[in-house]
């Protein structure tokens, strides 16, 4: 294969049918792979009549044309489905090895439909595709399942759900290679609803670039850029993503105690610097990654991977907890049980606030880190209050007529940046197609770190175009599929040259950015077809009406309405946020 394998594997778990479909190459040119291809296929496969946890929903695992080529960070893949947490179209993506290994089986995507009668696993090897009984694995944790199925990074890779997915927590992740997560939006619950415990892949095919000499040259060039950037060559490997903790706190944008405050008095204790001084054992890399941002850590009781910045925040500042060992162990636990750390932490924070106000009968309180691990287990196994928390913060709070305590947009919990101190981030959260998300673009770059240049984080005029371009760039990177961290050092022009060398087709930075925009519009149209409207492009009332009380962002709320107006205009949408133009070649519009 050169770029694309040209094949989609289609498995119906209801009747055990396994088919191989040709990849529509025009669709591939327009949407590339990963998130873009997944969004396009989801439009055809899952209509508004389908409930997310019904057999008619599908899981679309997709890689991209660069996957397994050896291009830097070409290990990633995505899963697309209708989200049981948000009801939107969803894609989540992950690194590690599984994506590379799946591509080596000779497929661009795997569609899983239907529901098996009993727990099963799918095994894809050079010998063929098999649906096997997995009754003996049901109830096992992620680490147990991964080990039992013979995970071997270079040869055989395991993707599975844990108890949270089996019990259909709307915050359940799908885990691959043991510790990597397709986390946001509850894809693990969809997998659990299909009685699908695991997908094991072994591949023997190669993604051989069409123009090998040009590809090698481009690898050398992109490698130089990654090495030359102090961010990708030093900051990520040495301190990981949590190095931004102190900085975000410094500007007064670190959400604290369910976004009641925007600075955490103990931010230092949960920062990347403190992690490096205490629990960090070493850094580690995904396949073909020269950056190596993964934290391998060890506490007094356990060892594992992480936490990333968002996780350190979700179990730290968001809960008023400053014990880094306890936070790291909460991370290990979520990986083992198969839970999204951001939504899990933020939902517990929501419960803590409700308990503080006496709205629920619980001993949860801000700062009660001692209750954290048991609460996480309760969510995964749907025990006690955990059964209610497993629904996510919005449904949980709403069941007590208190949805305003859910810090979410489109029911997806907001990540670790208080948008009152970063106005563009507020627009980005409100318009994100899968709900509030920092990986659909992130304004930390332009609003705080001057990447590529500084804009005033507290101003709201003129932000819309920058937000939209960042969103399009994120959609492009998610469709290639590579790691967004490479995009810190490597511009789209280089991606275009790499892709041209691999595929033998001509790509430019301009037409790649159109892929990003096309994908964004595709996702938007999907959500509109599901019944979402402009009214859903919003933020919690606290962000819009309660000014930050203290610190460098004091006095600010998010000025969303004027930014939205500007944003719709920039995207060429009408005043209700409806894309007016057809999507080129997609057969819809």
């Amino acid at each position: 294969m050169q770029g694309w394998a040209g094949k989609i594997l289609d498995i119906d778990l209801t009747n055990g049918a396994v088919r191989t479909l040709p990849l529509d190459m025009e669709m591939a040119r327009l949407f590339l792979g990963g998130r873009g291809l997944g969004a396009r296929l989801l439009w055809d496969l899952v209509g508004p009549e389908v409930e997310p946890l019904a057999p008619e929903n599908v899981l679309i695992f997709a890689v991209g044309p660069l996957t397994a080529s050896g291009a830097q960070t070409s290990n990633r893949f995505s899963v697309s489905t209708k989200s049981p947490l948000t009801g939107t179209g969803l894609d989540a993506n992950s690194g590690g090895w599984w994506g590379m290994q799946f591509k080596r089986t000779g497929h661009d995507a795997l569609i899983v439909r239907g529901k098996a009668e009993h727990p099963v696993l799918i095994e894809i090897t050079p010998a063929g595709v098999q649906i096997k009984d997995a009754t003996h694995l049901w109830g096992k944790t992620v680490f147990e399942t991964t080990a039992l199925l013979g995970q071997d990074n270079q040869k055989r890779n395991v993707l599975c759900i844990g108890p949270a997915g089996e019990n259909r927590s709307r915050m359940a992740s799908i885990m691959n290679d043991g510790t990597r997560a397709l986390a946001r939006g509850g894809p693990g619950a969809v997998m659990g609803s299909k009685n699908l415990k695991a997908i094991v892949v072994e591949g023997d095919q190669k993604n051989q670039p069409e123009d090998r000499e040009r590809f090698r040259f481009m690898l050398y060039e992109t490698g130089k850029l990654i090495k030359a950037s102090p961010i990708t060559s030093q900051a990520y490997p040495e301190f990981g993503t949590a190095v931004v903790m102190n900085v975000v706190n410094e500007i007064g944008a670190l959400p604290t105690r369910n976004f009641l405050q925007s600075q955490f008095e103990n931010a230092e204790l949960i920062s990347g610097e403190h992690m490096a001084d205490t629990i960090l054992v070493k850094n580690q890399a995904c396949w073909a990654c020269p950056i190596a941002c993964t934290r391998v850590t060890k506490t007094s009781h356990s060892e594992g991977e992480g936490p990333e910045y968002e996780t350190a925040w979700a179990f730290g500042a968001q809960l008023g907890v400053s014990d880094l060992e306890l936070i790291a162990e909460a991370n290990y636990l979520c990986n083992d049980l198969g839970l999204d750390t951001i939504s899990t932490g933020s939902t517990i924070g929501c419960a803590m606030e409700l308990a503080e106000h006496g709205l629920i009968d619980s001993s949860l309180r801000f700062g009660r880190g001692d209750l954290l691990h048991e609460t996480i287990r309760d969510i995964a196994y749907r025990r006690n209050l955990g059964d209610e928390l497993a629904e996510g913060s919005y449904r949980f709070a709403d069941s007590y007529n208190a949805s305003e305590y859910s810090m979410s947009s489109k029911k997806l919990e907001m990540p670790a940046y208080d948008p009152r101190g970063m106005q563009g981030q507020g627009l980005l959260y409100a318009t994100s197609n899968r709900g509030a998300c920092h990986m659909r673009g992130n304004m930390l770059g332009p609003e705080v770190l001057a990447l590529p240049r500084l804009i005033d984080r507290l101003a709201y005029q003129g932000k819309a175009g920058i937000v939209a371009v960042h969103q399009n760039a994120a959609a492009l990177v998610d469709s290639l599929v590579i790691c967004k961290f490479t995009n810190v050092a490597v511009a789209e022009e280089y991606f275009a040259r790499l892709l041209s060398a691999v595929s033998g087709l001509d790509f430019t930075a301009e037409n790649l950015m159109r892929v990003g925009e096309r994908t964004w519009n595709m996702e938007r149209l999907y959500n509109l077809r599901e019944g979402f409207t402009k009214a859903d492009d919003t933020l919690p009332d606290r962000m819009l009406n309660d000014p930050v009380e203290e610190g460098p962002s004091a006095g600010y709320t998010v000025h969303l309405e004027p930014m939205l107006k500007e944003y719709y205009a920039f995207r060429g949408w009408d005043a209700q946020g409806v894309p007016s133009s057809k999507i080129e070649g997609a057969g819809i519009g």
Binding site: A235, V247, V248, E250, G252, E273, H438
Partner: protein
């Protein structure tokens, strides 16, 4: 006197997460820093000391000095100057 906070790799150059330096403007404080901590100074400024190294940001009380009066921004006794090394978060 103004407090100077350091993050990431800059702490290794300074040997401390925060230091105290004198000065009535950002420029004065940084000059005092360079006089007392040459290794840290070299990590912040270009070799000819005419400008900041790429991706270094300086904030006064949480506001980037480029949004204030740059190096001429007045600094009060109880102010905090934060020097940010090249970093990025989840996705920038």
């Amino acid at each position: 006197m103004p407090q100077v906070k350091l993050f990431g790799i800059l702490r290794q150059h300074a040997g401390s997460p925060q230091l105290i330096f004198a000065g009535e403007t950002v420029r004065n404080v940084l000059q005092d820093l360079c006089a007392g901590k040459p290794e840290l100074c070299a990590a912040i400024f270009t070799a000819d000391q005419t400008g900041l190294r790429p991706h270094i940001r300086i904030m006064l009380n949480g506001r980037d000095i480029d949004m204030l009066q740059g190096f001429e921004t007045p600094v009060g006794e109880s102010d905090t100057l934060a020097i940010i090394p090249p970093i990025a978060g989840g996705f920038s």
